[in-house]
């Protein structure tokens, strides 16, 4: 098992190399010049040339890539074009917010998605089944942007139950250790901040969870249905085992395999799709930052940020693969 994990981690290297080349080339061949965007309407030839010199953009492509790769080997993602700060530091400051939001969204979507899926499968063709699958369809179809604003109107403006935007209320003091506010609040025994942070994450997390929840629900349902038709389930029922044990001990463990795969992929989608949620809820994460970087052609941010997200994605899927073996020891992942 350990060897397997180490092998998978080593595969990160060629994967990230491939990602870096693709992103690098795509950026350089996309029209739009970061120096031009930096200056906006007030450009002069001289200023343009100077900035491009400073950024190394006048060098041939292979030199630029070589420099980038060289820095990367030393663990240096370079400096952003717009704020001249180390890309790694900028990523570090924003990633925890996005990961916290994605984990919360994934937790909500898994919890409710799996439960709805199980109930739908075990009560196939019942009213519950139809309603929950209809709900899934609606969830997948509703634009996150609109949904977020509607939640705000109902729960913040009209009912006043939840805060509108941001991660923490102004005036709530929290000592930042990991930049995962919920974790930091627990670590510092700051219960007022914990409540405030939880209250702030509810709406964006629920908004972000609607699409994965729908997908997880459907996946669970169809996977369970297939498993429930298997002979060994009939055997288990014939043995007189309770419905609960049949469903959860025997059926679910096998049904979860494809669902866990989906969840791994959904985490990647959540990381990327957090852009809209982060924009509406003023959530200071990586999503909106990367989107702005693309608009401004901040090459260094896009390259560095993409590599970090790609690395995280690969690691999450490694966790997923290891989980297979945990769920069902008979699966030989070698």
């Amino acid at each position: 098992m350990l060897a397997y994990i180490i092998r998978r981690i080593l595969i990160l290297i060629p994967t990230l190399l491939g990602v870096s080349i693709i992103v690098f080339l795509m950026l350089r061949f996309t029209p739009g010049d970061p120096a031009e965007l930096l200056l906006g309407e007030r450009v002069t030839e001289e200023a343009l040339y100077e900035i491009r010199e400073h950024l190394g953009l006048n060098e041939p492509l292979y030199v630029q890539y070589g420099l980038f790769l060289g820095r990367l080997m030393k663990g240096d993602l370079g400096e952003t074009i717009w704020s001249r700060q180390k890309v790694w530091i900028e990523v570090k400051e924003r990633f925890p917010a996005t990961i916290e939001l994605s984990i919360a969204a994934l937790f909500i979507s898994c919890f409710f998605g799996i439960i709805f899926g199980i109930i739908s499968a075990t009560r196939q063709y019942s009213i519950f089944d139809y309603l929950s699958m209809l709900g899934a369809l609606i969830g997948v179809s509703m634009p996150i942007f609109w949904l977020g604003l509607v939640f705000m109107l109902i729960f913040s403006l009209n009912l006043g139950w939840l805060p509108i935007s941001g991660r923490l209320s102004i005036g709530v003091d929290l000592e930042i250790i990991t930049n995962f506010y919920i974790l930091d609040a627990v670590l510092t025994w700051n219960w007022a901040a914990l409540k405030d942070a939880l209250w702030h994450i509810i709406m964006p997390a629920v908004t972000l969870s609607t699409i994965p929840m729908a997908i997880v629900a459907r996946m669970t349902r169809s996977s369970m249905l297939e498993v429930l038709r298997q002979d060994y389930i009939k055997t288990a029922k014939a043995k007189g085992l309770s419905r609960f044990i049949v469903t959860f001990k025997h059926a679910l463990r096998n049904a979860l395999i494809p669902v866990v795969t989906t969840i791994g992929l959904q985490f990647g989608v959540a990381l990327g799709g957090a852009i809209l949620t982060e924009t509406i809820f003023a959530w200071p994460g990586v999503g909106k930052w990367m989107f702005d970087a693309v608009m401004k052609r901040d090459y260094m941010v896009i390259q560095g940020g993409t590599l970090c997200i790609a690395a995280l994605f690969v690691l999450i899927n490694l966790v997923v693969d290891v989980l297979y073996a945990v769920i069902n020891p008979r699966i030989n992942i070698q």
Partner: protein, 537 residues
């Protein structure tokens, strides 16, 4: 009777002083400002975005300052200045007793350091020990794009509180430039301690100082209790600048009282704000211009004045301002806003007159638009302060042109591409939308930068007119304000006579606020100054 008079006078006196007492600023409180994005960096020499300048406006000061709600100049960190008769030597006499936020003293050497570090060749002389200014890590963008290296020859601290700028050429806007954000005075000690980190740990002399910066979330400023100017503010204890990217969400936070001021709400929300008795609407005519210009490198636009004027009379600017600017703007008659000196009231602007447009088209040799073919109308893809919706405006303009027989195709690119390609004056560009927000309130900043094609090939409107070019040079080289006013008025008349560009609108800035926010005034240069702002509750 006498008793009645005395009684009434006493009552009046009480009312008068009572109302004055009610208007006296209260110290304390935390003001929360909701804005659309975070600052990029806090070293003003290197920043180009409004959100960075917004913070700089409060933690830094420059030698020269802009008066409230005006672009007229008043003493800043320099209490007075002299200009030599040949206009090439500026001597600034600095205030004494001013300290930076880190306790180090402000003096001539600090001024020399702050401005000298932007020069390519550091021809600077310190009065005391001075510092060895580190090499530039980046291009100081405003300094370079305003060609300050061609203007400033050397900077000398001739006394502990006297700085002399020796210019290479006469440049009348120089004084106004010294009031801009890039000319902010920084603490050399703080900079030298860690040059790379200064952009996130700025130290200035301003009424507020930086306390906390959570990226893309908030910047927190604390009152500078040792601020040198005791005649007024700062009154607020703390200011929190919150980044809330979505306009409607930002306005929601204002309505629910979670923030005090809302930057750039959606125009539709302005109407809601007007109806809300808890909100006030600080308003300011923007120091900007949205225009429609021509590709002067190709015919027929280059030589056919009648054709250009025909297009000008065909466009219904008022309808565009009413419907697309949603009233948050005014029709432009000149390419500089009426709040700027040098504005020419005698210029009538191009009235919307399709009949006249058709007549001029015929005079131009294109009766009913025949022979012109389909022209391209480049429309902006992103909202800017001077243009809220380039695509919609493009559609409106194209419909206006169709009415007189001109077929215009709307063309757009992604913003970076749009800016780059427009500058190249490509063959496939006929008309293009663009605009400008003024930097320093000097007409040169609009008229020379935007329309003097003979000055440089990167000027966006490549209009090559000898007389205009002469006027622009004269404007730069004349120091006397009254004479400069006449020069620019002449230039504006020439623009009307030759129609190298069609001025569409100046936008109006309205940032709704809680009514507890007192003395918040919008500034024409878009700077956000919190020094004299206080909260009534």
């Amino acid at each position: 009777m006498l008793r009645k008079i005395v009684l009434l006078s006493v009552v009046f006196v009480f009312l008068f002083t009572g109302s004055m007492v009610a208007a006296a600023p209260k110290s304390g409180g935390t003001l929360i400002f909701g804005r659309g994005g975070d600052s990029v960096g806090l070293d003003m020499a290197y920043e180009t975005d409004g959100n960075s300048f917004m913070i700089g406006d409060n933690i830094f000061e420059a030698l020269v300052a802009y008066k409230d709600e005006s672009t007229a100049l008043e003493p800043g960190l320099a209490k007075s200045w002299d200009v030599s008769s040949d206009g090439k030597t500026y001597t600034f006499h600095l205030r004494k007793g001013v300290k930076f936020h880190d306790g180090t003293p402000f003096n001539a050497d600090a001024a020399v350091f702050s401005i000298g570090r932007m020069m390519k060749e550091r021809n600077v002389k310190f009065h005391g020990k001075g510092w060895k200014i580190p090499a530039q890590e980046r291009t100081p963008e405003y300094w370079v794009s305003m060609e300050m290296d061609d203007t400033v020859g050397s900077i000398e601290a001739t006394g502990e509180y006297t700085v002399v700028f020796n210019l290479k050429r006469v440049e009348a806007p120089f004084l106004a430039n010294m009031g801009m954000d890039f000319a902010s005075i920084i603490s050399p000690t703080a900079f030298m301690k860690n040059p790379k980190e200064f952009v996130r740990n700025p130290v200035g002399t301003g009424p507020f100082k930086l306390v906390k910066w959570i990226k893309d979330d908030q910047i927190v400023l604390d009152k500078n209790k040792d601020y040198w100017d005791k005649s007024g503010g700062p009154y607020l204890d703390k200011i929190v600048f919150r980044s809330i990217p979505e306009n409607s969400v930002r306005f929601l936070e204002l309505k629910t009282g979670n923030i005090h001021i809302c930057q750039f709400p959606n125009p539709a929300d302005i109407e809601l704000a007007r109806k809300d008795s808890n909100l006030i609407l600080p308003t300011q005519p923007g120091m900007n211009i949205g225009y429609l210009s021509f590709n002067h490198t190709k015919e027929p636009w280059k030589s056919n004045v009648n054709l250009r004027k025909a297009v000008a009379h065909a466009i219904n600017s008022k309808a565009i301002v009413d419907n697309i600017y949603q009233g948050m703007g005014q029709v432009a008659k000149n390419p500089i806003p009426p709040t700027m000196w040098g504005y020419n009231e005698k210029v009538p602007g191009f009235k919307y007159d399709p009949a006249l447009a058709k007549k001029l088209l015929t005079k131009a040799g294109f009766p009913g638009g025949k022979g012109l073919g389909e022209i391209t109308l480049w429309s902006m893809p992103v909202p800017r302060p001077y243009n809220p919706d380039g695509q919609k405006i493009g559609v409106a303009m194209s419909a206006d042109l169709a009415k007189v027989g001109i077929k215009a195709k709307i063309v757009s690119f992604e913003w970076g591409t749009y800016l780059k390609r427009q500058r190249e004056q490509p063959e496939d560009m006929d008309l293009f939308q663009l605009g400008w927000t003024g930097d320093n309130g000097d007409p040169d900043n609009f008229l020379a930068v935007l329309f003097d094609g003979l000055a440089s090939s990167s000027i966006r409107t490549q209009w090559k007119n000898e007389e205009y070019h002469k006027l622009m040079l004269q404007g730069k080289q004349t120091i006397d304000q009254a004479k400069r006013t006449e020069i620019y008025k002449k230039a504006l008349q020439l623009i009307f006579d030759e129609c190298p560009v069609i001025s569409i609108a100046h936008s109006t800035v309205i940032w709704p606020a809680q009514k507890s926010v007192m003395n918040f005034k919008l500034h024409p240069t878009s700077s956000v100054r919190m020094k004299n702002v206080w909260l009534s509750k």
